[in-house]
Amino acid sequence: MTGSKMSGADALLKALEQEGVDTVFGIPGGASMPIYDPLVDRSPIRHILCRHEQGAGHAAEGYAWATGKVGVCMATSGPGATNLVTPLADAKMDSVPIVAITGQVPTPVVGNDAFQEADITGITMPVTKHNFLVKDPADIVATVREAFHIASTGRPGPVLIDLPKDVLLADTTYRWHDNVTLPGYKPTTKGNQRQVVEAVKMILRAKKPVLYVGGGVIKADAHQELFDLATTGQLPVVTTLMARGVFPDSNELCLGMPGMHGNYTAVTAMQKSDLLVALGARFDDRVTGKLAAFAPHAKVIHVDIDPAEIGKNRVADVPIVGDCKDVIGKLAAELHKRQDEAGGPPDRSAWLGQLRGWQDEYPYRYPTDDGKLKPQYCVERLRALADDDTICVSGVGQHQMYASQYWRFEHPRKWINSGGLGTMGFAVPAAMGAKVGRPEARVVAIDGDGCFQMTAQELATSATEQIPFVTAILNNGYLGMVRQWQELFFDERYSGVWLDPNVPDYVKLAEAYGAVGLRVESTDEVDTVIEKAYSITDRSVVIDFRVDPGEMVFPMVPSGASNDDIIVGPESIQSTTDPGEAPIA
């Protein structure tokens, strides 16, 4: 195959196109201008001009979460590139496949403290799955191939490609490479059958099994296999913050979210279980609480594509390295086979009955009799008035927990949030990216007033690029999650957490950004305003919900405490609880 002559920048765009990229989120600059020139008329790729590179990065993440494809963002050198560090770190923690393309100063001055130079490959080494500095235009296409391969396979993650301006401008020959050669990169995708058999024997023996399901199951698109496994074996399922929706909330085996703000049944089921089947979950400290006291009677089967996760926090009795789709499929098949021979699943009615009892006794609940507008109620109504296909995105804080607790998820890829890094400012741009990836779906961002102010400027992008979504600000006038901790663990000494609920005026701000601004001040206005917001589909809408500033997220396991000491509501707080050893979200 003989290639055609073109510039490095043209080759880059052509390679992106050949990788299936239809959209890039970015902001141009001196070093990346050569890439922007072909976008005028030579490339079919849609460039969405964001207002901040952090926004571009989170938008690429939202796109990737919603579609399962690789999201792409772009920035110029130096400050443009450093603004991508937060979304890259976010994507690394949550295994989100994105490729970031950054312009770099020309090769002769790289390392010279040239204008707008930053050693972005050096800076992002610890927060990317891998990164590249391309010094020869002939390497551009192969690098793009490698970057997309690395980002989307194995445990997905962010990859950065840094491209000096002279490399982009130089002539090169376009040659597509069918194969990617990375001798050091061979993820194990197929689970070992012997281990699978071992695991199924343990599942059949277990009296109190729990499927502990994490975000890896969504990444692997293994929701059907999971459904098959759980229903075949009559195995109750907890879905972590990262996994909400991978198993339908409406299914009677679904226990919902475990962890620091999980519900009593999910938390306690794990504590009392005799077998935890961890599927694409990483025993995060927000799930385990005090590790030494976590699920003390449980044997562990741990399935993960990343061998480094297995045994990292909790020893696995049966470790299985592999892609969740493959391994869960094999587990389900083996379980089918053995149960058919035995004439059905083992009798687990006692365990399932106990779980049901807890669910009845300890549902999520919040005060409804004080006449105040409750954030939980707003989430419930936002969900009730939307259909199952609606994508819910959140920021980080109390509102994130309310969203995960009170939104009912029926399908995977309908819930998008920043779980691992806990990045404030994630919601608005991620919602925008999700809407670009899934234009037919309604997208609702549930945000805090603090988070919203970090990236609200992407509403301007949404207006000019016509990417409409709804942002529901649960405006409590505080950095609420921090306020909650100060209330509980620092004797109500509120420091640095008050945000004036009236500044900015969110309705006017929305209008200024070309969106529709609506305000809700009391419970009885909630439905009318949400219905109005949902009826607007040609513009973004911001709803300023003036919620009770004193509301807190419950249940709660204080960090550093055992999951056995879950606090189900404000009535069971002991005022002298230890602030705990781990920092907050």
């Binding site: 610890p126 500095l133 050091g184």
Partner: protein, 176 residues
């Protein structure tokens, strides 16, 4: 130095810019001290070998090794069993050598079968290679004369026996 937690690891890496930083960064990010690190080319083009001596307990070491394995440019990692590895290091020591010290240093060099590679009116420079323990013993003895300057390469190691790790790895990489 606590011998019980000292580990020698060989890491085969693709010879690409930044790979040393990536490897060292993994240790640094966890606050582990690298005792010695030696890098050089191997028999295969494009593949370098790092020998890392690190002072960590077994379980964090396992986590670091797994993380190292995740680096895209890392091809293979092998932890050496101290009993079955050949370990060597190179040392250059410049010592004060005036009066009768001169003869005594040359005698020492003889006994240790190491060579004198530079001579001035007041100093001798000794080149020594061997097991780290041997170099340690020699350094100890030379120190009484007064060491002007010393430089060591850090340890390199190969497993004993006829097979190398690279051919096994490359075979596995092709098969996989």
């Amino acid at each position: 130095m606590n011998g019980a937690t000292l580990h020698t690891i060989s890491v085969l890496v693709e010879d690409r810019p930044g790979v040393l930083t990536r490897v060292a960064g993994l240790f640094a990010a966890r606050g582990y001290n690298i005792d010695s690190l030696a890098v050089g080319p191997t028999e295969a083009a494009g593949i370098s070998r790092m020998t890392i001596v690190v002072n960590v307990d077994e379980s964090p070491l396992e986590q670091v090794t797994k993380q190292l394995n995740k680096l895209i440019n890392v091809i293979k990692i092998l932890e050496h069993d101290p009993g079955t590895a050949v370990e060597r290091e190179l040392m250059l020591v410049k010592v004060r050598a005036e009066g009768d010290a001169r003869a005594r240093i040359m005698e020492l060099a003889d006994v240790f079968r190491v060579s004198i590679v530079d001579v001035t009116a007041s100093t001798l420079t000794v080149e020594a290679s061997g097991k780290p323990e041997k170099l340690e013993a020699l350094r100890e003895l030379l120190s009484e004369f007064g060491i002007v300057e010393l430089s060591r390469t850090g340890r390199i190691a190969l497993a004993r026996g006829e097979r190398g790790i690279r051919e096994r790895v490359l075979k596995a990489a092709k098969a996989g």
